[in-house]
Symmetry: D2
Subunit: 356 residues, 4 copies
């Protein structure tokens, strides 16, 4: 019942604080004989790493991953894969002011109430830095899923500004600093986010992750539902406040006729005429694209002074300096992809166990 592990058969345990010597994870349950080397993981980490544009934190971290176990001659051996990323640019001084104050919107107060102690330096364990381990684990998960499954993410809303879905273009996603699939929106977002950044403020985002090529049959009733596990996995990402599958909250406004995806045979294959379900029925994949969305709240670290209290119960104010993303939602995109990959890899193994 480790609170720092996820997955059942494909099981990842992460460790490490933002300003400790390193962070890392142990990936257990990987099938043997999969080709794996450090660059296979590094390429995904590079998508999450900070400092790639003016819209992310200026902390300099190369996020270089080392494989410490579980791989021999470029192949997985079936034993646990230990991955480690050293922390390089931890300026703990920046955090002296917040040692005794709780930053509103952060986990400071909650950790302190729970444990009676908290590593205040850079958020300690609650720092989004932990998500690097998720992305590393997600790279292994993708190996298990194989080339027939593709998992991609895109930011579909930045602050209050949504994309126009009719302009969706996956090739655009890699071309702008926002993972935005709508080139026009991406351009507008630049100005918007520059304004937010210069004001020392922050904004939220909505990300959509899509898995194509997932075979029908993954997932399991009742409490091992694929969508329940996806919801839990995405909600476990820092700053996420909402998750939906397929039509999501919009499903409440649909009629029964609109909602239930009709089926037809097309060239001997089963075809659905719509995908309100987001690829999952009764907790089990149907073979359609799996579509999930999650909402990320604005970065809690902002420049303007905010009312708060001290550890010893006095009213005070705080403004967070440090180096922060004006919108953590952007860098959450590869994290969302990684979590979806992990859930699917786990369910692929679980399905194989029960149904052969």
């Amino acid at each position: 019942m480790s609170s720092n592990s996820y997955g059942t058969l494909f099981r990842v345990t992460t460790w490490g604080e933002s300003h400790g010597p390193a962070i890392g994870c142990v990936v257990d349950g990987t099938p043997p004989l999969l080709p794996l080397s450090e660059p296979d993981i590094q390429r995904w980490l590079d998508r999450r790493k900070p400092g790639t544009s003016r819209f992310t934190t200026q902390r300099k971290e190369s996020d270089t991953v080392r494989i410490l176990s579980g791989v021999l001659d470029g192949k997985t051996t079936g034993t646990p894969i230990s991955l480690m990323i050293e922390n390089e640019d931890a300026r703990s001084r920046d955090y002296d002011e917040i040692k005794d104050k709780f930053r509103p919107g952060h986990a400071d107060y909650a950790y302190w109430k729970k444990y009676g102690i908290r590593d205040h330096r850079g958020g300690g364990r609650s720092s989004a830095r932990e998500t690097a381990s998720r992305v590393a684990a997600g790279a292994v998960a993708r190996l298990i899923l194989g080339d027939s499954v593709s998992i991609r993410g895109a930011v579909i809303q930045l602050g209050p500004h949504k994309i126009d879905r009719s302009r969706w273009d996956w090739t655009a996603v890699e071309d702008n600093p926002f993972w935005c699939p709508d080139r026009q929106a991406a351009q507008a977002w630049e100005g918007y986010l520059d304004g937010v950044r210069k004001a020392g403020s922050s904004c939220g985002a909505v990300i959509e992750v899509v898995a194509a090529g997932v075979p029908a049959g993954l997932g399991a009733p009742i409490y091992g539902k694929l969508d329940a596990d996806i919801a839990g996995a995405l909600m476990s990402i820092n700053a996420v406040k909402g998750v939906e599958i397929g039509a999501g909250f919009g499903a409440a406004s649909l009629s029964g006729e609109e909602n239930a995806d009709e089926m037809r045979m097309r060239d001997g294959e089963v075809a659905f005429l719509s995908n309100q379900a987001g690829g999952i029925l009764g907790g089990i994949s149907t073979g359609q694209e799996i579509v999930a969305r999650f909402a990320v709240k604005p970065t809690s670290s902002i420049l303007s002074a905010r009312k708060t209290i001290t550890k010893d119960g006095r009213d005070t104010e705080i403004s967070t300096k440090g180096r922060h993303d004006p919108c953590v939602g952007i860098r959450a995109t590869p994290v969302g992809e990684a979590m979806l990959a992990c859930v699917l890899a786990d369910h692929l193994l679980r399905h194989r166990a029960q149904c052969g």
Copy 2:
């Protein structure tokens, strides 16, 4: 890794099909010496049971629960509590037509692809009837939480029609067939839902569940986050397509200043000046009210003919007769409460284990 269990320390395993002899659950991990008898559970089951208004299925089920173990002289003994509810009004004939056809929006196709066999009678294991076991388990969970914690739910949107939150009145919730906290909305909904029902159609809903009195410190980083577990638990309820905590998807549109709940001391107590967080920061409860919402899709069983295919791959049509709720979201309200209670009870025990 049972897919039919939830919770870690407070652990519930459910079993049973809609048209089998009975359904039930085994509740493990309950502390000893709690007062428990069948009426303590029955009162919650009565809130979920069918046939209480014209807006729910006309299937007649008394949903009478029996305690088969784990209780001695009206007190829990710490050993597993086995609860059983016999199925009384299972008209399997109604389902003959769907034996070989997949009902759109239902789990039929997905189960068949996964298992190669499915109990088609009343949805079998995927029937919402399973949720009675959840409500029964939730009654035990409430005992663990004690009287200082209250958990309540309300329907805040029926089809496209939202309540006016300024009219929120918890006492109204028990006075109308919709668990609606806005008396005016409840009245409007009657006409709306009558229309839906008479058209043989269906609609969705959004439910809000609120836990008050929850102490700070419950939950655990990183993958045992309280909100992640709530999201998974609510998403595991039949027909749920979205879950959010606090400001939820709306958080994406907030500024950093609006989002981060400020704090002040009030009469020696910590007070938050807002609750965008929904009572959870960094995956740990803060002592504020825990607020979660979930979206339920329209009932998939509708009268109008829908395109589908047969098990042997031919195009056909189907219209579902049986006896169905025009809006399953209504009866999902006590189920959502129960799931929230279970998650909180589990985390209460987990917190006590680690932090004493």
Copy 3:
């Protein structure tokens, strides 16, 4: 982390007290489409049930099992299989005397210290009656393993009297009331056990369980070792005090040369020249017979008065009346077989998950 469940993928949760209305279990994770009906389970229960000879308790229990879920038209559906056995001959009066006294050797004192409450009637949850659920689950486990795997048990020591292994004959096992594979020993044991029984005393036993036909590769380093799981499963049976695999404790006295089983090719197949390992190396099956033994202590319920204390801390004496097995080890034989079957079924699914 249910303490009343075992297994990971093939997962069994048992419930029920000796003198409650019923006992039972929920078997989760069973592959679909296996042929299963009540007689398939009943035949194994009949081997464990009391009253079949003068050497077991005279309590009359038909141990009739009912399948309440998870099976359709004689086939498993992949959903949880709920099994229930009603208690028929519970004479709770017999236990009035022990309500306030702790029976030496029994779980009475330990339960009371843990829970502050105990169901004293017939041992409540700690009664060996619970093992009927294990045997029922074991019947399902055998289905998963298939006909190529055979699991058999035999009593190899009764009190201080060991069998002569050179006379081992599996056909003898079904011919005597002791599951003894040595006909000559079985005859001698009759007189011995009659003496024990008439003296109101009891004795222990050692049981050997053997699984043949298990493929190489089951089990998993490091903490999911096949032998570690077998040891835990057998030690969890009531009254078991020791477990060994292959040469077991005798391995300590072997030389390195004697201990390490040599290998040769025989007709294109791998052959081991001995089986000190008991079919398991590094926690993984080798394809040899899996051999485990467990020691059962004497029945704690005996007629002679024994020193004990009362719940309120006074010295007293107790002699247990009730109806008891003079040697619980005998009826533990089918239970040991069942546990071995459950562990192997679980590992078969786990191996399939990771290694395909």
Copy 4:
């Protein structure tokens, strides 16, 4: 369901191969605010490390542990504690010969059958080197148990030579290279083991581990029994073939009268008049000393040539060079202590969760 983790609330995940860059573990679930620094762990590792006498392997490993996370200012924070030990003296050349041959008694063949790949260098994952991680985790477990609980181990049989229990002296244990509590036996063992070592052979051992000061009430029926978890934990140690609790296998030969430990009040405290139970009844601790024993088989690496086969199915012979312990049982003593500590720490937290 990680196979490389143990424990439920106090949960340890180990990783690493004998000849990889490092080994280590992640310890999750530790309560916050416990004083912890590297020397607290190092002192226990030093007891297990190789090269301390001529009776252990001459491989030079300082086994220096680093704490990478979970500790702030010398106190645990409640977040995962990552521990790493670098491998220093890995001579992989020594193992070239065995790349294609299976060493009898080793895990080579079983790993290869399971995974189709194996890290042959020094035994890879199946090397006893992994047990250093267990000892490190055990040091944290001891912190949780506190000073009132003491856990000690001793070798009570070396090869066929048993100690005389009447000469048991705990102070002797630290004075000889065998952790032997019988000074006279220890002296005799020197000559015996020198003979074994010079002959290039090996021998087994039996170790007894004793936990004093454990409160009554730890453990949980039915499958979370304290003795079942101890049995599984000890059997998971490399080369262990048997485990027993209290009277163990000897219990089979006791009469019911001898076996059931009588009770009396002594100065207002509960006193047992014997401890055949080994401190556990019904799977729950009674407050008596917890006594467990385990048998370790002879080291499988021996100098004399042994019959074996190659990966491609040819008969051959092998003699293992490398640097090996003539009796791995000796260094298994601190490992057994560590495993017992881990099981008890886990159950302490579990008990606190359920029973407060």
